[in-house]
Amino acid sequence: MINFDNAATTFPKPLSVRQAVAAAMKKYGGNAGRGGHPLAMRTSEALYSARETVASFFGAQPENTVFTMNCTYALNMAIKGIMNGGGHLIISGMEHNSSARPAAALALKNRLRLSIAEVYPEDERTIDSFRSLIREDTKAVVCTLASNVTGQILPYREIAALCREHGICFIADGAQACGIIDVKLSDGINILCTAGHKGLYGITGTGLLVTDGKYPISPIIQGGTGSSSLSLLQPDILPDSLESGTPNIIGTVSVKAGIDFVKKTGIRRIFAHEDRLCRCFMSGLDGDVRVYREKTAEYVPIVAFNVGDIPSESVAAQLAEKGFCLRAGFHCAALAHASLGTKSGTVRFAPSVFNTEQEVLRLTETIRNMKKI
């Protein structure tokens, strides 16, 4: 079985992550921040250490680094927590449902006014598209750093600068970018939401919300935090305000180990390797395969494609029979597929640092033969 569905979740995980998880199961059996006994304190220290690693990786402060269940939770917390008092929200036309659905849900309840900025292959046009939608009451912009469908990298630094100029909170979805490109809060991001289990190589059930603290985020979940417990009011300081309930301690340890792996391997090396595999993949396809890439755009290592008129799900099913794992369909990204006009979806090739050129060549050979069936 060869996994090319790493944009959904990376697999396999690095040995160092698997070892860290196994060690954490033995060692960190307490509840972080919820006791003074040695087991709880040891576990609390592990959680703080993971927080420090994440913060340093994204150029943030440890207390502004919040562990969540996944990127969707982080985006819901950011969008609902910032748009709490209403106002105007702009999202890109390439957003995953993790942003688009909470935004749409609030808009349908008249809790905010929503605009969708078209994304083009040319960065200038995309920036203009965002600029044209900014209004007096625009409170936040939500923008994916890279599309989970095509891999297109959006001009997020320029969009962030636009937000800063107008005093708008810039919320970034880094799910397909973090660990692949060097994302920092200093890029102009006010709130970065990302998954721990994709390019950061942690285990599933991990996500991150990292903020510069400029825009207070109202919590959407209240509960135990291990602090000020006699008060019925949720603490107003980070990370406690956004981290109610027992955290996924094993998961946070895995994210720390994953980030250490990414740092040790080198983000540029990871990108170069996966990008080379994408180019190898594209060069191995013939004319009947449509690849959804434009010359004017830049991409993270994801290739969206379709094989002739074969429905994307059929292509993925046939490849699965041959042992290849690729995701087909709409990738939880209704807006992106509407923009692309891909009515039966696309197939997504998404390698990880562990894939090889030989595996890619076997895949392209299988796709070429598929059309002869």
């Binding site: 921040g33 003074g36 440890p62 207390e63 000020s228 006699l230 008060s231 603490p235």
Partner: protein, 87 residues
């Protein structure tokens, strides 16, 4: 560093800082340790006002420790000198 002058006598001082969260307690601990202070994060006594939380035991001059935390925007609820003869 870990002493202060009282009535002309250098004495070891122990301060207790109540921190708003475990995260800030560790952040303060790391910061003060980097400045030569010996300190330790401990759980608040179960009968403490406000409920659960964390304290930082600091062996050193309280006012100076407080200033370091303030300068570095590390919030704390209070810092008290609990050493013998302390305020």
């Amino acid at each position: 560093m870990h002493s202060s002058c009282r009535n002309g006598v250098m004495v070891m001082t122990v301060c207790i800082a109540e921190m708003p969260s475990y995260t800030y307690a560790v952040k303060a601990e790391r910061l003060l340790r980097s400045r030569g202070y010996r300190c330790k994060v401990v759980r608040k006594d179960k009968n403490s006002s406000g409920g659960c939380g964390f304290l930082l035991h600091i062996y050193g001059y309280c006012l100076e420790a407080a200033e370091i935390l303030e300068r570095n925007a590390v919030p704390f609820k209070y810092i008290n000198d609990i050493s013998e003869g302390g305020a």
